[in-house]
């Protein structure tokens, strides 16, 4: 399912003295099966854009096309549930949305809201709790007795159990330890690859954008300032710093290495392996 934003503008508290323009003239398309990263500095309008992706916010001007539905400014929309089933959002700190007595009930909440039967929802809960790396026993516990990291996984399982076609992730790894971070991102990436799930990743992390995204959209002060492949984006460190962003660690390391060696590699490398290969090629296979 494709999602396409067309000249989206959103003002908070429109028509009051507190009116504030959050995003302006943002257009981009996320095609089915793609992984798109949306990056930007704090306050760049990332979160506002995210809310448009399943019609939680309606643009004050412009339109959003989600599959076969169009959400247009100034038009009343009815029955948005089908959109929300197809586009699942994992919000920042999703553990804050847990409320049920048991983990099982909490995971079933989403699917059952969309008309999935109780048995089916329970099956999904059992399946997804394992997918996020927890054991089945945890299903009977209260979500409030779990650790922060476990709660995060349960909340994510709750969204995944809705089995959306498009998964939107807002800083899914914020506040996790490095290992949890890696596991979590790999799990999402596996879903993306195996299930051809369309993924939209809203993130601060240049590493995540470099590692996983097919396309990167950069927002700066509510406007889209760049759209392209990560490779293209991260080769221009100067422009990135203008937007308050940096380059991934690997690229910084590569630049340092180049400065030390006094020679330039043909292009930027987005992973350690790529960098090693490229560097050994340059030095005629001598470096290891």
């Amino acid at each position: 399912m494709d999602i396409s934003l067309q000249e989206v503008e959103y003002r908070y508290a429109a028509g009051s003295p507190f009116e504030k323009k959050a995003v302006e003239n943002v257009s981009f398309t996320v095609s089915s099966g793609e992984c798109v990263a949306v990056i930007g500095h704090t306050g760049s309008g990332k979160s506002t854009i995210l809310l448009h992706l399943n019609a939680l916010l309606k643009p004050t001007s412009g339109s959003v096309v989600i599959g076969d539905r169009t959400v247009k400014a100034g038009r009343k929309e009815k029955d948005l549930k089908p959109i929300r089933q197809k586009v699942g959002i994992v919000f920042q700190f999703p553990e804050q949305q847990l409320f049920e007595e048991t983990v099982l009930k909490d995971i079933c909440y989403g699917p059952m809201n969309f008309g999935v039967s109780e048995e089916e929802a329970k099956c999904r809960a059992v399946y997804w709790i394992k997918q996020v790396g927890l054991s089945e026993e945890i299903l009977q516990e209260s979500p409030f007795d779990l650790s922060g990291g476990q709660m995060r996984r349960v909340a994510i399982a709750g969204v995944l159990a809705m089995e959306p076609e498009v998964l939107v992730l807002d800083e899914p790894t914020a506040g996790l330890d490095p290992r949890g971070r890696k596991e979590m991102m790999n799990m999402f990436f596996r879903l993306h690859k195996e299930r051809k799930m369309t993924m939209i990743l809203v993130t601060h992390s240049m590493e995540d954008a470099a590692d996983y995204a097919d396309k990167v959209v950069v927002l700066h002060k509510g406007k889209k300032v760049h759209e392209g492949t990560p490779r293209e984006l991260f080769s221009d460190a100067e422009r990135l710093s203008e937007w308050g962003l940096g380059v991934p660690e690997v690229v910084r390391f590569q630049r340092m290495l180049e400065a030390k060696a006094g020679r330039k590699l043909p292009g930027i490398c987005l992973s350690i392996e790529e960098l090693a290969a490229s560097f050994s090629e340059l030095s005629g296979g001598k470096a290891t």
Partner: protein, 267 residues
């Protein structure tokens, strides 16, 4: 919807009303609430209304903005107006529709009570619109200070108030956030039968409470870590200064009270 509400909100500006001492403003508003009840005829209300409008004008806030921001309160006032019109049964009959009759006294009462209500709402909103929550609590604490002699917990009360005020926007944001998260999971809070809608509130309230308690605990820890031990011997960073304008404001209020009681008791 909530973004438009101005009830209890502060609008930064630099007017004579903004610069007034919060203590003076608090005394002023409470005294005004008492004084307005002295008015008992249209002329008296007229004078009180002019007085209120003049205060609003001095604060630099437009009446139009006040009215648009206080819409929910306006609905309430309209409601009391209608109630009054139909329920007073004194005086000449003005309109007889068979199933309901409207009396002269009813119209009089309706106008007076809704005007009183409106003026009260305007004045109290003026206080919160022109005074930061923190200076309101400072003012309140300082006004209640003499009561400390009879062991009245003035400092604690002021602290409680400032914490409560401080967390209103935080809780509002959080409500919004959790509501959106649950809506993304297919919860529907704005349509369907009433029973379902009430049920849909549970997934909102529980996370909200859990987070509020967690935050309260964190705050208590943070205060303890920084050596908070109550108001004993605590000095203030923001000092309150009583100016001539504060005395003048209260003086005009005394004049208003004089005029209104003259109209009520001697005229």
């Amino acid at each position: 919807m909530m973004e438009k509400m101005i009830f209890g909100r502060y609008i930064p500006a630099d007017s004579i009303v903004h610069r007034m001492d919060p203590r003076a403003k608090l005394i002023f508003v409470f005294a005004f609430i008492a004084i307005i009840f002295l008015a008992d005829n249209a002329w008296a209300y007229g004078i009180a209304a002019i007085y209120t409008l003049a205060s609003i004008w001095m604060s630099g806030i437009t009446v139009r903005f006040l009215i648009s921001g206080l819409k929910p309160v306006m609905i309430l006032i309209a409601f009391t107006f209608i109630l009054q019109i139909f329920f007073a049964r004194e005086g000449r009959v003005v309109l007889d529709l068979g199933f309901l009759t409207i009396y002269e006294e009813g119209i009089r009462q309706a106008f007076m009570i809704s005007t009183r209500f409106l003026l009260l709402v305007f004045m109290t909103s003026l206080l919160t619109l022109t005074t930061t929550p923190i200076s309101i609590t400072d003012g309140l604490e300082s006004l209640l200070n003499p009561l400390k002699k009879i062991k009245f917990p003035a400092h604690e009360l002021a602290l409680m108030m400032s914490i409560a005020l401080r967390f209103i926007p935080t809780l509002m944001d959080e409500t919004d956030k959790i509501m959106k998260a649950q809506m993304a999971r297919g919860s529907d809070m704005s349509s369907g039968p009433l029973k379902d809608r009430i049920k849909a509130v549970v997934p909102l309230m529980i996370p909200l409470f859990v987070n509020a308690f967690k935050r309260a605990e964190d705050l208590a820890t943070a205060m303890e870590v920084r050596g908070y031990r109550g108001g004993e011997g605590r000095t203030k960073y923001r000092l309150l200064n009583w100016h001539i304008r504060d005395t003048m404001a209260l003086f005009t209020l005394i004049i208003l009270a004089g005029i209104l009681s003259w109209m009520r008791f001697w005229l």
